[in-house]
Symmetry: C3
Subunit: 120 residues, 3 copies
C-alpha cells in the first residue's frame, strides 16, 4: 500500500498516462505519509465504454481512487485527495469539446487482513 | 458521484454495452436520489480472463458496483440495488449455454475525502 | 459473492492467468467459508500502464482483492488473505529482473444492499 487506481475515458486522447502516474506518485511521496516510495503501486486503465449521465454530449472523466491502510485521520485523507486532484488539474490541455470531470476518492484498506510480500 | 462500474464476462457476446449503461443511468435518475444527470459516471469493462467456481462449465457474470457518497439509508441503497438488478434482468437474450449470474453491490464513498471538479 | 479481482502488471509475462484463478478459487473452496463453488466469481486484469514508486527500475505487482458479504470475523479474513497470498507465492518462476510485490486485500460487501440472481 498505498494502491492508486486511475481510470480515464478513451476520449481524453492527449493524456500522458505514464507521466501522470509518476506525477501522482511524487505527490504521494511529497505528502510525507508513506515510508518508502517502493510501496506506492499505481495503475491506469483506459475506459473504452462509458456513459456520463443521460445525454449524448461529449463528456469524459478521470477518476482516481487511493486505497490506504486504515488508521489515517480525516484531515490527512482530505489533504491527500485535494493534492491529487490539484495534480490532475495541472495536467492541462484537455480536449476543448469534452465536458470533463475529475474526481479523487480515498478508500480504507482493512489493516488486519491485508497481506503483502516483496520478491526479488 | 455516483460512480457505476459494470463488469461483464467476454462470453456474453450479445450484450449491448453502451445501451446498457444508458439504461442503468436512466434507472439512477428515475430514483430521484441524484440531483443532476451530469454527475452519474458509468463505465463498463469486458472481462477476458475469469473463472466462476471450480468447474469448466460455461459460466459468466455481470457484476455492477454503485458507489455513492455516504449518508444514504439502507432502504435507499437496497432499492437502488434492486432497481439496477431488475434493469439487468430486463436486458434479456442471454447465451443459452452459459450459466449466468447478475449481481449489484452498493458502496459508500467517504464524503469528507471525496474531491471533484468539472472542467469545460 | 465472493468476488475476487486479480490485477497483474504486463511485465509478468509468464503468468498463467486462467490456471492462477482456478487455483485461487480452489483455495477459497478449501477454506470451508463458502457454501457453493458456483458462487465464487474471479477475474484477472492485465495492467498495461503502471508505476511502482518513483523509480524507473523494472517493478511489477500482483494485487488481489477478495470481496465478501459482511459478517465474517477478522480471523477468518486474515486466514483467507494469507492463504491467497501463499497460493500466489507458490506460482513461482518470476521474471528475474523485476522487483515484484504480491498483495491481498479483503473487502466487505454491504450485505443488505447486495442483490444477485442466477440465470440458466
Amino acid at each position: 500500500m498505498p494502491h492508486l487506481h486511475l481510470e480515464y475515458t478513451a476520449n481524453l486522447t492527449g493524456l500522458a498516462v505514464e507521466k501522470t502516474l509518476l506525477r501522482l506518485n511524487n505527490v504521494l511521496m511529497a505528502s510525507g505519509q508513506f515510508g518508502s516510495e517502493f510501496d506506492i503501486k499505481s495503475r491506469a486503465v483506459k475506459v473504452e465504454s462509458f456513459q456520463v449521465g443521460t445525454s449524448i454530449n461529449p463528456r469524459g472523466f478521470i477518476a482516481v481512487t487511493l486505497s490506504m491502510l486504515s488508521g489515517r485521520s480525516p484531515q490527512v485523507k482530505q489533504q491527500l485527495s485535494q493534492s491529487l486532484l490539484a495534480a490532475l488539474q495541472d495536467l492541462g490541455e484537455w480536449p476543448a469539446n469534452v465536458q470533463l470531470q475529475l474526481s479523487v476518492e480515498v478508500l480504507d484498506i482493512d489493516r488486519d487482513s491485508y497481506s503483502k510480500v516483496a520478491i526479488g
